[in-house]
């Protein structure tokens, strides 16, 4: 499964890389912004996209909206990884077309399994 992950924090990208590499079937590409996620999502073929909610520039919500508005990327399932856990924010993500919200801080040992469960794979 090819996964695109966007998070502006370098430390968290390092942990995401390590945590997701525990699942040998995941092929992970990391980017550091919403803009980069849009570019890569249009260019590459991904099976899912994991977005940080709060990023400078294009935040996760706007990135998700644009992904869903573009026919080339609209069908790729989006999962949020967010430090904000208010119901309204989860609702906002789901309203924009995300399939699930995972919360930060996450358990790195179960992140891949949680992601698969959210994607139904």
């Amino acid at each position: 499964m090819r996964l695109l992950c966007a998070d502006d924090e370098e430390d968290i990208r390092t942990i995401l890389q390590l945590a997701l590499s525990l699942d040998p079937e995941l092929e992970v590409e990391l980017v550091d912004s919403g803009e980069a996620a849009l570019l890569r999502a249009r260019a590459g073929r991904f099976d899912a996209i994991l977005l940080d909610g709060m990023m400078p520039g294009l935040d996760g919500y706007e990135t998700c909206r644009r992904l869903k508005a573009d026919p080339a990327t609209a069908s790729v399932p989006v999962v949020f990884l967010t430090a904000k856990t208010q119901r309204s924010e989860v609702e906002q993500a789901l309203t924009l077309g995300a399939v699930a919200c995972l919360v930060k801080p996450f358990d790195p040992m179960t992140l891949a399994a949680d992601l698969r469960a959210a994607l139904g794979r």
């Binding site: 968290i12 945590a19 208010q86 930060k104 040992m109």
Partner: protein, 499 residues
């Protein structure tokens, strides 16, 4: 008829009123027939006008238009609790006020005494506080994600084996990162609950199902502590509550009971009748018990009876404070009974879903027009009844088109909550009936539907001021209803709302 007293006595009382009210910093007015008959200087100052200019004015002219209905309902409810609304100054500007209304007799006439207080500053502080908590918690979570993530990977050997001592230290660091995360979550949760910001999704719930699923979730933890669960269900009536939040309360009480039970002990969970109209949950442990003095402090924030002991057991000191807030927000009560050496029983009561008919009240003699709930599902209708009653609305229930038509013929409601799928037709049939019936053309309708409209419903009927998708949050429903009654229709909102 109340005695008016002699002219001298009246003058004396009027003089006393003026003396006391002139010294008060809050606005004080007396209303006769909802018009101001007396006002102090503080009231005039608050609203930017002269005392002489307010006498004879209706109370409504000092309330922002969108809150007038809410004030009218508050007066009708005879509640003496403070009510937060927005006031309107002479120049048209509005500001946050708290109003306390008391029924009094003034100059022999039944009147209303009102105390009005400017609460703009308090509201601003509340807003800043919750913004601060939200930002801080987010800013703390981000570095904690890195710390927790790194430690978790190291401890699990994902980056190679660690020497035993390093693994032990990593475990200690990871456990404390977890504790910090729980603490931040609890603080944020408590802040949201106490600020009234959580959106409760009140529904009819099966108590034994809630207990069974909570017990199943905690079985792993109980095995770790070598404690077993026993369940005793003596009441199967549905209760009215928010499922996630009731599970949160149960999880808190059950995990506390497990943590404080001796090895080989049993935690007994029982469900039974409580005070009239309430269902009682009780969690009994075989721990060392709590003295009477300590019981009083248990539900306060960061109250840990034996701090070191609680820390060892992974508590944050906020669980019981959160549970109490959650129980109270759902209209219930929580408490503890315990004796040292005998164990403790933590209990809470939540309202039962009332039997059908309880909310089908208020005859034609009742002056306040109520809300007509057109809904064929009994459980949904009962829950709506509870929510609306709590908010001070009177409710008439109709479970079919025919009943709704009959109810509308009897009296015109202030608003209609309409389920679109009815046993004898569609909600649209009722909308047609409303538009065609003289006297009903202006009744606003809030649609409650399991599905989104497949078209722009405003082109079908301009009576629909809002289309709510089930399940909706209690607050969302009340907001939609108060907008509908106040005649506010925001076209963006009217398109679709779901919670």
């Amino acid at each position: 008829m109340v005695s008016q007293g002699s002219g001298g006595e009246r003058e004396e009382r009027d003089g006393l009123f003026r003396l006391l009210s002139s010294a008060a910093s809050e606005g004080i007015i007396i209303l006769g027939d909802l018009h101001i008959v007396e006002a102090n200087n503080a009231f005039a100052r608050l609203f930017g006008c002269a005392v002489g200019g307010v006498i004879g004015q209706p109370l409504a002219s000092f309330i922002a238009p969108e809150f007038r209905e809410s004030v009218a309902r508050h007066i009708a409810s005879s509640s003496e609790k403070p009510h937060d609304v927005r006031g309107r100054r002479k120049d048209g500007s509005t500001f946050d006020i708290e109003i306390i209304i008391k029924r009094i007799v003034y100059r022999g006439e039944p009147s209303l005494g009102c105390v009005l207080r400017d609460i703009s500053e308090r509201k601003e502080i509340d807003r800043l506080k919750s913004e601060f908590v939200s930002i801080v918690s987010h800013e703390l979570r981000t570095p904690l994600t890195s710390i927790r993530g790194s430690l978790g990977l190291m401890e699990a050997g994902a980056v190679g084996d660690l020497p035993p001592k390093a693994r032990e230290l990593t475990r200690i660091a990871r456990q404390n990162a977890d504790r910090l995360i729980r603490l931040i979550n609890d603080i944020l949760d408590l802040e949201k609950i106490e600020a009234g910001k959580i959106q409760l999704q009140i529904a009819a719930l099966d108590a034994s199902d809630l207990v069974e699923s909570t017990v199943a979730e905690l079985r792993g933890m109980a095995e770790l502590y070598k404690v077993s669960f026993e369940m005793d269900v003596a009441c199967c009536e549905p209760l009215a509550g928010d499922r996630d939040r009731v599970v949160q309360i149960l999880t808190n009480l059950l995990s506390n009971a497990v943590k404080f039970s001796p090895e080989g002990g049993t935690v007994r969970v029982s469900i039974g009748p409580g005070s009239a109209g309430y269902l009682r949950f009780a969690v009994r442990d075989q721990g060392q018990g709590i003295s009477r003095e300590q019981q009083g402090r248990l539900f306060a924030r960061f109250e840990q009876l034996e701090a070191a002991n609680t820390r060892r057991r992974g508590g944050t000191g906020l669980g019981l404070a959160i549970s109490r807030s959650l129980v109270e927000q759902q209209g219930g009560r929580i408490g503890v009974e315990s004796s040292p050496g005998v164990g403790s029983e933590f209990w809470f009561e939540l309202p039962l879903v009332p039997a059908p008919g309880v909310h089908e009240i208020r005859g034609a003699e009742d002056a306040a027009p109520g809300v007509l709930v057109v809904e064929d599902d009994d459980a949904v209708a009962r829950v709506l009844g509870i929510i609306l009653h709590r908010a001070g609305h009177s409710v008439t229930r109709a479970n079919s088109l025919a009943e709704a038509r009959a109810a509308l013929a009897a009296r015109c409601p202030s608003a209609i909550l309409l389920d679109m799928k009815l046993p004898d037709g569609s909600g649209f049939d009722l909308l047609d009936h409303i538009v065609e019936t003289p006297g009903l053309e202006k009744v606003p309708v809030v649609v409650l539907s399991g599905v989104e409209p497949a078209f722009d419903h405003r082109t079908r009927s301009d009576r629909i001021v809002e289309w709510l998708i089930k399940p909706f949050a209690e607050r969302e429903l009340l907001r939609a209803l108060s907008d509908a009654i106040a005649g506010r229709t925001d076209p963006r909102r009217a398109r679709r709302r779901s919670a």
